[in-house]
Amino acid sequence: MPAIETAGLTKYYGQRSGWPGFLQGRFRPSAPPVRALESLDIAVREGEVFGFLGPNGAGKSTTIRLLLGFLHPTSGQGRVLGLDMVRDSVAIRRRLGYLPSGIALYDTLTGEQLLDYLGALSGRPAARRAEWSERLELSPQTLKRLVRDYSRGMRQKVGIIQALQHDPELAILDEPTEGLDPLMQRAFYSILDTLKAEGRTVFFSSHVLSEVERVCDRVAIVRQGRLVALEEMAGLLARRKRNVQIRYDGPPPRLEAVAGVTNVRLGDGRLNCHVEGSMKPFLAALADASIVDLTVEPARLEEAFLELYHEAEPA
């Protein structure tokens, strides 16, 4: 059973204020509907770290808010942990942890009071608070200070702890490393590794592609509310082009007609090109060339991402 499953999930803003029909638009101007999400079909497997990628306004937060029951779908449906996301919203939230992007906290409480309050609302013991606090280097003394005195990074750490302290089956994390320094980002990734090893599911929304590449098993990429790609991370990277740089003596190697090689650029004893798929034909073509140096850069998700975006660009 998938941890999260959506079918034709669609959301248009501006169609639902919640006010009774006869009052709709009477006190507030009714704007034309804006498409936020169009027919999203994804299935997140249990126990995987699932990356949800896209630039600002692509529909990432809308999807998350639909899954949490903050928004009502215009059409389509979704199931979270086997439960209907509209009908069983409260039961779903009992079993998940959520970190919103740019989390807002109660400034007049101490970190400890805040975690106690949110833990009590969860209705489950905060069994893992001490563990996550230690790993994120948030000491008990720090937790006794008022939240309003916290730095942005400390707020984010409290946000991560509140989402995970009750050991949820599913964690939905929206831009979780926002504001964390590189050391704390590492600590956070190790927490994700622990969760993954324990079979917890993590739905991870981000636009920091390097961290998605580092932690996710699969990624979905959304653009203007539509799903552009849903792939295994390894597969996505494997079929991406590699950046190759060659320094040579004498005549340049002839690569234009070699299978998988594109974008060949020559200049001043250097050759740059892209290689896609198997390296065998490329290496064979270099056999007779006088190569001084050869650099092959591994494919980065950024490039895969940008390429997918380029492909999905409307004509």
Partner: protein
């Protein structure tokens, strides 16, 4: 209702509640003392015709009797402003304020339905109002005792007066919460509620001072606070029913609108 949410709300509001209750108790204390000290002189002044007769029935209160002075204490702008800290300020910001700050989604990502969230906050509002009104009446009883006029007071009527007052300000709280769940930002929720309270107060005062405007008074919820009548032994169940009806109407609106609303990401 959700116990954790109630405890959290209590923790955040307890100092404000203590300050408001102390101020209301002090205000409640003063009016019986003023009545005991100056009531006769005010009576003579009124009988002489130097003061318009309408001043004797401002908002249903006066300073010529203990009942009148307690009623005046309840309908006076000072008491209304102080009680409105919870009936309007707290209630209007309970949902819209959290929404504007972005903390609403942190709370609602817990296993808490919007109905339970709303009902808990309505319960908290009514609780704060009940304590504040009790402090005002306790102050009045203390003032009457201090001034040596407690014998004029029918103590058995006080619980009903407390109920009538709680229902009045509870009705405002219900309106405020209904506005609070209907808007994404605090200013429109606060503005709607404050506007309603001010207009109703003007209608009530206008009707009590100007006979030609008396027909406007039934449109004001303040008209259904019959403090002096209750203290003199007269009970109108209709008045209580009207206030209760407004509370129920506000609840109904909120319970229909809030769960159906889209809570988009805070901007």
């Amino acid at each position: 209702m959700n116990g954790a949410l109630l405890r959290h709300t209590w923790r955040l509001q307890r100092i404000r509640l203590a300050v408001v209750s102390a101020a209301l108790a002090t205000w409640g204390f003063l009016l019986p003392v003023i009545y005991a000290r100056f009531g006769v002189q005010f009576g003579v002044l009124l009988d002489s015709g130097m003061l318009p007769e309408q001043f004797a029935r401002f908002g249903g209160g006066d300073v010529f009797s203990l009942e009148g002075s307690i009623a005046l204490g309840l309908i006076h702008p000072i008491a209304i402003i102080l009680t409105s800290v919870f009936a309007v300020g707290f209630a209007a910001s309970a949902v819209a304020g959290e929404r504007q700050r972005g903390t609403l989604e942190v709370a609602l990502s817990r296993p808490l339905s919007r109905q339970v969230f709303y009902v808990s906050l309505l319960g908290a509002s009514l609780g704060f109002i009940a304590i504040a009104i009790a402090a005002l009446l306790a102050g009045s009883v203390s003032g009457a005792t201090f001034a040596g006029v407690a014998g004029e007071l029918a103590f058995a009527t006080l619980p009903l007066l407390w109920l009538n007052s709680v229902l009045l300000f509870g009705a405002f709280a219900s309106i405020a919460l209904a506005a609070s769940v209907s808007f994404d930002r605090l200013p429109p929720a606060m503005g709607c509620t404050l506007g309603a309270v001010i207009v109703m107060y003007v209608l009530e005062v206008l009707g009590s001072l100007w006979p030609s405007a008396e027909h406007l008074q039934p449109y004001s919820l303040f008209h259904y606070l019959r403090a002096k009548a209750i203290l003199t032994g007269s009970i109108s169940l209709f008045d209580l029913a009207v206030l209760l009806g407004v509370i129920v109407a506000g609840m109904s609106w909120a319970l229909v609108v809030f769960p159906r609303r889209d809570l988009a990401a805070p901007s």
